[in-house]
C-alpha cells in the first residue's frame, strides 16, 4: 500500500513535465507525420490523403539519373558539413576535455576553466554568428591582415557567406557539446589505471589510444549525437553564415514553410527525422546513455 502510494505521488510529481512534453513535443510530432500525407494548394493545406509532399520532394530523382536530384544533392551537402563539423568538434573537444580532466589538478580551477568554456553557450547564437562579420568580411581583419602582409592581392571572398564560414560557425557554437560529455567521462577514469600503464612501459600515445579513448567512448558518443543532430537540422547557422545562399536539410523545410507548403515541409521533416533516428540508433548501439549520467 505505501509502495503504491509513493509511486503514485512520484507519478504526480512527474505529471506536469509529462503533460508539457505530450502537448508540445509528442502531439506536434504526430501532426507532422499526419500532415506530411496531406494534400496542399498554393496557400493552404488540404486534409485529404496525398503523397504529393513526398513526390514533390523527390521530383526528378529517377528521371534525371545519373544526375543527382536537388534533394539528394542537398542531403549530401548537409552530410558533408555534418562530417566536417563532427570531426573538428571532436578533435577540439577531446583535446580541451583531456587538458581539463588530466592536466588541471585542482578542482576549483577545473570548475573555473569549464565555466569559461560554458559562458558563451549561455549567450546568443545569432550574436556569436554575426561576430564573425568584422573578422571575415571583405574588409575584415583577416583580409586586411593578409593584404597588409602582401600574401594576397584581392580580398578572399570565400571567408564569409560560404561553406567555410558555416562550418567555422558551427564548430564555434557547438564544440562545447563535445567538451562537456567527454570531460564527464574522463574525470571518472581511475587515475591509477594511467599510472599503471606508464609503469608497464606504455608511451603517452599508447596510453591515450588503449586506455583513455576507450574509457571516454561514452562521452564521445553522446557528444557526437548532440553535434550530428544539431547540424543535420540546422537552418539558422546555414542561413546567416551562408548568406541565405546555401541549401541544407533544415533549410529546405524552412523554404517550404515560407511558401506555406505545410505538407511538403512536414514530408521533409519526416525524412530528416528518419535519417536522424538512423544515425542516433546506430550510435546508441555503442553505448547506453542512461548509465552515463
Amino acid at each position: 500500500m505505501t509502495q503504491n502510494r509513493r509511486s503514485f505521488i512520484a507519478w504526480l510529481q512527474a505529471a506536469p513535465m509529462m503533460l508539457v512534453f505530450a502537448a508540445f513535443f509528442l502531439l506536434p510530432l504526430l501532426f507532422v507525420v499526419i500532415v506530411s500525407a496531406w494534400d496542399y494548394n498554393e496557400y493552404e493545406m488540404v486534409p485529404a490523403f496525398s503523397l504529393r509532399g513526398y513526390t514533390d520532394t523527390f521530383e526528378g530523382c529517377v528521371v534525371d539519373l545519373p544526375e543527382l536530384c536537388t534533394i539528394l544533392k542537398t542531403y549530401l551537402k548537409t552530410l558533408e558539413m555534418c562530417v566536417l563539423t563532427w570531426g573538428l568538434t571532436l578533435l577540439i573537444g577531446f583535446t580541451v576535455a583531456y587538458f581539463l580532466a588530466f592536466h588541471i589538478r585542482s578542482r576549483t580551477w577545473q570548475i573555473v576553466l569549464t565555466l569559461i568554456c560554458t559562458i558563451p553557450f549561455w549567450t546568443s547564437n545569432v550574436i556569436r554568428m554575426i561576430a564573425w562579420i568584422p573578422l571575415l568580411g571583405r574588409n575584415g581583419l583577416v583580409n586586411k591582415g593578409l593584404q597588409g602582409m602582401g600574401l594576397i592581392q584581392q580580398p578572399l571572398e570565400w571567408l564569409l557567406f560560404s561553406e567555410f564560414s558555416v562550418v567555422l560557425a558551427l564548430v564555434h557554437l557547438f564544440t562545447l557539446f563535445m567538451v562537456v560529455p567527454i570531460f564527464n567521462s574522463m574525470i571518472r577514469i581511475d587515475k591509477r589505471l594511467i599510472e599503471a600503464a606508464y609503469d608497464a612501459g606504455a608511451s603517452g600515445w599508447q596510453t591515450l589510444v588503449n586506455i583513455v579513448i576507450p574509457l571516454a567512448k561514452p562521452g564521445i558518443v553522446i557528444g557526437s549525437i548532440f553535434v550530428i543532430t544539431i547540424v543535420m537540422g540546422d537552418f539558422v547557422t546555414v542561413g546567416v553564415m551562408g548568406g541565405q545562399q546555401i541549401a541544407s536539410a533544415g533549410k529546405i523545410i524552412e523554404t517550404r514553410l515560407n511558401a506555406l507548403q505545410f505538407p511538403a515541409a512536414a514530408a521533409n521533416a519526416v525524412i530528416l527525422l528518419g535519417i536522424t533516428i538512423l544515425i542516433i540508433s546506430s550510435l546508441t548501439r555503442i553505448v547506453d546513455i542512461r548509465k552515463e549520467l
Binding site: 510529481q13 510530432l29 537552418f235
Partner: protein, 292 residues
C-alpha cells in the same frame, strides 16, 4: 603540486588558450565595434568612439520596435525560467522512486533535447494551426488564433529547457546522500518538511543553475520559436531578421545589449551559487533552521 609539469601540459595549455580566444575573440570584436563612431562601418578600424548606435537602438531609429521585442523576450524568459525550475525539481524528485512511465519520460526528454529544432517548431506550428481551424469550424465568433508568445511560444521553449533541467536534477541526485532524508523521517518530519528543510537547502545551488539554463536558453532561443511564435517576434528572431538587412553597426549595439543581459544573468546566478555554497560549508546543512 611542486611536481614538474610534463611537456605535453604546455602544449595543451596553449591549445586551450587558443580555444578560449576562438570562443571569445569574435564576441569581443562586436562589443568593441558597437561603440563605433557615427561614420564608422561594420568592420575595423574604429572611426572614432561614440554611443550613436546605442541611441539609435533605444530611439528605435532604423530598427522596428526593438524595445517591445526586448520586453517580450524578458517576460518569456522569466516565465520559462520559473516553470523550468518548478517542473524539473518536481520531476527530479519523482525519478528517485519507481513510477509508471519513468523510462518513457526519460527517453522523451532526451528525444526532445536532440530533436532537430525545426521539426519541433514545425510540429507546434501545425498543431496550433489545426487547433485554430477546429475552433473556427465550431463557428466561434471573432476567433483569431491560439498561437502566441505564452502558448505555443512558451511550449516551444520548454521543450528545449526542460531536458536540461531534468538532466541537472539527475546529476544532483546521483550524488545525493539519501540517508539525510531517512534521518529527517526518523525524527518525525513530514515529506514536505523533509523536502523544504533538508533536500531543498542542499540542492539549492544547483536549482539556481537550472534557473540560469532556463532563462538564458529561452532568452537566446531562435530555431524552435521560428514557426511557433505567431505574429509577434522575440528578440533573437528580430536579430536574425536584421542580419540580412542592416549594414550599420546598430546591429552590434543591439548584440552588445542582448549579451549584457545574458552576462548580467549569468554572473548574478554564479554569485548566488557561490554564496549558497559558501554558506553550506560554513553552517553545514540548513536542515531544521526554519523550524526553530
Amino acid at each position: 603540486m611542486g611536481e614538474k609539469r610534463p611537456r605535453s601540459f604546455y602544449f595543451l595549455a596553449l591549445f586551450f588558450v587558443a580555444y578560449v580566444l576562438f570562443l571569445y575573440g569574435p564576441m569581443f570584436a562586436i562589443y568593441i565595434l558597437s561603440f563605433q563612431g557615427p561614420d564608422g562601418g561594420l568592420t575595423f578600424p574604429m572611426n572614432g568612439v561614440s554611443l550613436v548606435w546605442f541611441e539609435r537602438v533605444f530611439s528605435g531609429g532604423g530598427i522596428v520596435n526593438i524595445g517591445a521585442a526586448f520586453k517580450r523576450s524578458l517576460e518569456l524568459g522569466f516565465v520559462v525560467m520559473v516553470l523550468t525550475v518548478l517542473l524539473s525539481v518536481s520531476a527530479g524528485m519523482a525519478f528517485r522512486k519507481p513510477f509508471r512511465g519513468a523510462t518513457v519520460l526519460f527517453y522523451v526528454a532526451i528525444a526532445s533535447l536532440i530533436m532537430p529544432s525545426i521539426i519541433t517548431s514545425l510540429g507546434i506550428g501545425l498543431e496550433f494551426r489545426l487547433l485554430d481551424d477546429f475552433i473556427n469550424g465550431l463557428g466561434v465568433e471573432g476567433w483569431t488564433t491560439a498561437m502566441g508568445l505564452f502558448t505555443s511560444g512558451l511550449g516551444a521553449h520548454l521543450t528545449w529547457t526542460l531536458p536540461f533541467g531534468l538532466l541537472i536534477m539527475f546529476a544532483i541526485f546521483n550524488r545525493f546522500d539519501g540517508r539525510l532524508e531517512e534521518a529527517a523521517r526518523d525524527l518525525g518530519a513530514t515529506p514536505w518538511q523533509t523536502f523544504r528543510h533538508v533536500v531543498l537547502p542542499i540542492i539549492l545551488p544547483s536549482v539556481v543553475g537550472i534557473g540560469l539554463f532556463g532563462f538564458t536558453l529561452s532568452w537566446d532561443e531562435l530555431a524552435r520559436s521560428s514557426q511557433a511564435i505567431g505574429s509577434v517576434n522575440t528578440l533573437p528572431l528580430e536579430l536574425q531578421g536584421l542580419t540580412t538587412t542592416v549594414t550599420k553597426p546598430d546591429i552590434y549595439a543591439l548584440g552588445t545589449l542582448t549579451s549584457a543581459v545574458s552576462f548580467l544573468v549569468i554572473f548574478t546566478a554564479l554569485i548566488v551559487i557561490l554564496v549558497l555554497q559558501a554558506r553550506q560549508r560554513r553552517q553545514g546543512s540548513d536542515a531544521g533552521k526554519g523550524m526553530v
